[in-house]
């Protein structure tokens, strides 16, 4: 079985030295550890936003980074979805436009907007479609960002501390939503957090980071295993 993600990268930035290797078979993997441990840097390396000094990254068996062979697939061509800490929705576009821009599937503008609308419904943000991001609460922004991250039928979703800027009540609500939506979509995901409770509630597997190294790894026990798509091709039915 091809793993959803295989990472073995090293990158030095100033005094900080990141050197990690792990594999995600399917489901939601959580990179957990203190601030400055290199979790978000790892996400940027997986996304291709930063190049490693050495190493490889494979998504669904496809090599997207291989320093030895000078392979560096652009972020655009990695088929990833990203959810940032504070959403990073384009402020000059409506919520619907933000999500529709991420829809990679063919078809015209109307079709892309219909897909975007269905994703907004799925995350409970259908009423926000015509609003500008500047008028949204933190929780609403993250719902829209989650819809945007999944709308493009990604092969992998990367979530960089998506809940850390929210208050505790909204966080609890969104933890459940993030897990439900990602699991039901079947897209493997990597989530970064320094919140132990969040890691337990959302993740299927927790990869523990400290000072640029993977220092532990364990599975999260759940009553029913998640239905994930695993290594199925990205075209195979992520649409809502």
């Amino acid at each position: 079985m091809t793993a959803a993600l295989e990472v073995a990268v090293a990158r030095r930035i100033g005094e900080f030295d990141l050197d990690v290797a792990f594999t995600v078979e399917s489901g939601i993997a959580v990179l957990f550890g203190p601030s400055g441990a290199g979790k978000s840097l790892t996400l940027s390396l997986i996304a291709g936003l930063i190049r490693p000094d050495t190493g490889t990254v494979l998504i669904n068996g496809r090599t997207v980074t291989d320093c030895a062979r000078r392979i560096h697939v652009s972020t655009q061509d990695r088929r990833i979805g990203m959810v940032f800490q504070d959403g990073v929705l384009l402020p000059h576009r409506s919520v619907l436009d933000n999500v529709a821009l991420a829809v990679r599937q063919g078809g015209g503008r109307r079709e892309r907007r219909a897909i975007a609308r269905s994703w907004l419904e799925r995350v409970g943000a259908e009423g926000l479609a015509d609003r500008r991001p500047g008028s949204l609460s933190g929780g609403q922004r993250q719902r829209a960002a989650l819809a945007r991250g999944l709308a493009g039928e990604p092969a992998l979703v990367l979530l960089d501390e998506p809940l850390s800027a929210l208050d505790s009540a909204v966080r609890a609500e969104l933890r459940q939503l993030i897990r439900e939506v990602i699991v039901s979509s079947g897209v493997p995901a990597v989530l970064v957090t320094h919140d132990a409770e969040e890691a337990e509630e959302i993740g299927d597997e927790i990869i523990v980071y400290d000072d640029g190294r993977v220092v532990g790894r364990r599975s999260v026990e759940r009553p029913t295993p998640p239905r994930t798509r695993g290594n199925a091709p990205p075209e195979s039915g992520v649409s809502p």
Binding site: T75, Q76, I80, L90, P91, L101, G149
Partner: protein
């Protein structure tokens, strides 16, 4: 150059031709120069903000030179390049039938050179100031680089870019030194700054006072517009 508005209309409005003719030359030349400056200047500002290539600093410094040089020096170089013997003058003659010095087009060229650095520097700073996470998010959304530039970077930098274009327009409109040397004081290709100089030098002096007031009003309107751009909520 034909007047933008018939003189009979201006008489009705009480605007004398000695105000309107140079003002219309100035406005038209500045407008045409600004169109060129905006298209090329924003593109160069984008390349300078985003590009990582050797010589970037030298390019920016070269195009910024008119900001530091006296306009008469810029005018001198333009006069000798455009009007002096050589391949540039030959190209002008083959394209236009005559050299571009002492013509309306010469004024536009002088104003382009003088105002270009303002547009480039404002645009470069505004584009470089866009939060890179928006562009990263757009890359993760699969948007190609040209769509990211058009849909993300330029709209987010628009206030600085518009301010740069407005400043360039103001600079073009107010240019005297370079325009004077390149175009002299040819009838129907005389800008308001040159008309003001002529009125001071040769009279009548009341015309100088009125032309100066008109310049003042136009400059105030431009700067006020630019300051309003800074206060408007972005989205």
């Amino acid at each position: 150059m034909t007047a933008l508005v018939p003189h009979s209309w201006l008489n009705t409005l009480g605007i004398p031709p000695w105000v309107w003719d140079p003002l219309s030359v100035s406005l038209r030349a500045a407008f045409e120069a600004t169109i060129v400056v905006a298209v090329v200047g924003i593109a160069l500002g984008y390349v300078l903000a985003k590009g990582r290539f050797p010589g970037r600093g030298a390019i920016e410094t070269f195009f910024s030179l008119p900001m530091a040089l006296p306009p008469t020096v810029v005018g001198y170089y333009l006069l000798t390049r455009l009007g002096g013997p050589g391949p540039i003058r030959n190209a002008e003659v083959s394209l236009f039938g005559h050299p571009l010095t002492f013509t309306f087009t010469g004024i536009v060229i002088a104003q382009i050179v003088e105002s270009f650095p303002y547009c480039v520097r404002f645009s470069r700073a505004a584009i470089a100031g866009v939060d890179p996470r928006f562009e990263q998010a757009a890359r993760a959304m699969g948007l190609p680089q040209w769509r990211i530039a058009l849909l993300v970077t330029l709209p987010l930098a628009r206030r600085g870019i518009v301010a740069g274009v407005a400043m360039a327009f103001g600079r073009a409109l107010g240019d005297f030194g370079a325009t004077m040397i390149v175009s002299g004081s040819v009838p129907m290709a005389t800008t308001i700054s040159i008309a003001l100089y002529n009125a001071v030098a040769y009279g009548p002096h009341h015309q100088a006072m009125v032309l100066a007031l008109v310049q003042l009003g136009v400059a105030f309107a431009i700067l006020f517009g630019v300051s309003r751009l800074g206060k408007v909520r972005p989205w």
